[in-house]
Amino acid sequence: MSDKIKIEYSIVMNWIKDESSILDLGCGDGELLSLLVQQKKVRAQGIELDEQAIYKCVERGISVFHEDLDNGLKGYADKSFDYVVLYQSLQQIKKPDIILRDAINVGRKVIVGIPNFAYYKARAQIFFKGIVPVTTSLPYEWYNTPNLHFLSISDFINYCKNKGFKIEKSIFIGEKSIIKIFPNLFALTGIFLISK
């Protein structure tokens, strides 16, 4: 686990109350959920598309549904979970606005982690080199990226404003530390705790 991910996980961990219920959309191999189960005694459920990642989740004892979020977040009643987590997955979903709308209904609160496309190094790569940026939080080349949508921290804040979602908490992370000044320029990642 890299230092950056460690910082990001610890932020999410701090926000989540003990013994709460969590739905992690695009939970990958279940690393975050498994930490939450161990340290916060949460009731965890993941949703993941990749079959190999499902095996890893089961290995960790994490309950997971093998589903494609592009088909929507179906089946859950409103307020089924205390938190719905979209950590580094929102930008990979075909219709992020629909998933976010569902997530905010299914969860009392939603935690969203996004890579910042407006990071200064990304801006520099576009401006000076004229290439699609590759950064720590956007590590892929144009031809192999799973990301379908590119957004900045400002984009997400504006989006929440327009939709009437309340940003209860937000933290911005750079290469190794938390960014407090000009996050849209200096942060690689933004993590938000939002509610309706």
Binding site: Q45, I54, Y55, V58, E59, G61, Y76
Partner: protein
């Protein structure tokens, strides 16, 4: 093959020589009241067990067989060349680890492999039941098994598992006896039989019933309707495979390597189906085939209710497994179960294994199933011990 030979052939990670045991209950006047309201008794269940029941009886796993299966799930019967039907999954170090768990597999009621069914003697007439045997349902199969589990002194099963019809019994267990199971593993199954599934079963039943030897089910002691039953089994086998798995296994290859322009089974796939049909009739009773396919067709665990409503009482944790190429029990049916889990708040995991084997995958995708089941059971067992 004599005993010695078969003993030598037994691989190391195998449960070895196994024997079928029998348990009889529901002696009149305490017959089992069936779903239909009719009474049946006495009832014998054939069953096998593998591994050892631990002291607090917390390591018992009930393994449910599919339409044509039986109690012989693992190991070898004396002198047999082939092991039980899920030998790849049950044994030392396997998914259902006999070093840790006590595994029970019982033949269903209505069966023909040692359990009471249409070929058994009706004590009232001293003749085989034939079509006098009452209609049985998946719920009846499970209710009967509960007597066996009581008899074995097990209060709560660590898990109930099964594929296809075994999966239906698994679902029935977790719904009917929520306090008797810690977890369930329904594989390649459905919460209710679809129109297409009923349709295939009806064609298969018609194949049996249109065989002149069937004689309204009164063929015992005479020639059995083996032609009809073989055709039924051939249809069944088509539905168990996928277009791709058939293409891979047989292609358009013919036995003679040339077109013979006759109606003999010259294509390999034809030979395979004939072989499957012919070997099936040696071990299976035609009336049982009718009764069990009917039990499958009647299966609709929620009935007039929504599935999530009947799942509200479920306490078991579920591992639901489906296979991408299974068109007989398509993955959408498993996703319906998942949906009900979500709404009812049942703790569950769902995996759709990318297999090309069709419905047969539950007997063949051993590596993936083992991977999932082994870890799932460890997790359930440690949860139970907390």
């Amino acid at each position: 093959m004599d005993k010695k030979q078969s003993d030598n052939l037994i691989p190391k990670n195998n449960v070895g020589i196994t024997e079928t045991k029998y348990f009889t209950f529901a002696e009149p006047p305490n017959e089992l009241v069936l779903d239909s309201g009719e009474k049946l008794g006495p009832i014998t269940l054939a069953y096998e067990t593998y591994g050892k029941l631990n002291e607090d009886k917390s390591n018992a796993i009930l393994c449910e067989h599919a339409l044509s299966g039986d109690a012989h799930a693992a190991g070898y019967h004396k002198g047999d060349k082939n092991p039980g039907w899920w030998d790849t999954m049950i044994g030392p170090g396997k998914a259902f680890d006999t070093d840790k768990n006590y595994i029970i597999c019982s033949n269903v009621i209505g069966g023909c492999r040692g359990s009471t069914g249409p070929s058994s003697i009706n004590p009232k007439t001293n003749k085989p039941y034939g079509m006098e045997f009452p209609i049985i349902t998946i719920k009846d199969m499970v209710n009967a098994q509960r007597y066996l589990i009581d008899h074995l002194g097990i209060k709560k099963l660590l898990t109930v598992v099964g594929g296809s019809m075994g999966g239906m019994q698994t679902l029935q267990w977790i719904v009917s006896y929520p306090d008797r199971v810690c977890s369930g593993i329904p594989i390649a199954t459905t919460a209710k039989h679809s129109s297409q599934q009923i349709a295939f079963n009806e064609v298969e039943r018609q194949a049996v019933m249109s065989d002149p030897n069937w004689q309204d089910g009164n063929y015992y002691g005479e020639s059995a309707p083996i032609r009809g039953l073989a055709v039924a089994r051939m249809i069944g086998h088509i539905t168990y495979m996928s277009d791709k798995s058939m293409a891979e296994k047989f292609g358009r290859r013919s036995k003679e390597n040339k077109t013979i322009f006759k109606f003999d089974p010259d294509f390999e796939v034809e030979g395979y189906l004939h072989y499957r049909g012919d070997s099936f009739v040696k071990r299976f009773d035609a009336n049982t085939y009718l009764y069990i396919t009917k039990a499958l067709d009647y299966f609709d665990i929620a009935g007039d209710k929504q599935l999530y409503e009947v799942f509200k009482n479920v306490k078991a944790e579920l591992l639901i497994i489906a296979f991408k190429s299974d068109w007989l029990y398509p993955a959408y049916q498993s996703r319906e179960i998942v949906k009900a889990c979500k709404l009812a708040g049942v703790d569950a995991t769902y995996c759709e294994i990318d297999s090309t084997y069709g419905h047969d995958a539950f007997l063949l995708e051993i590596e993936q199933e083992t991977n999932l089941i082994k870890h799932f059971l460890e997790h359930v067992y440690s949860g139970r011990k907390k």
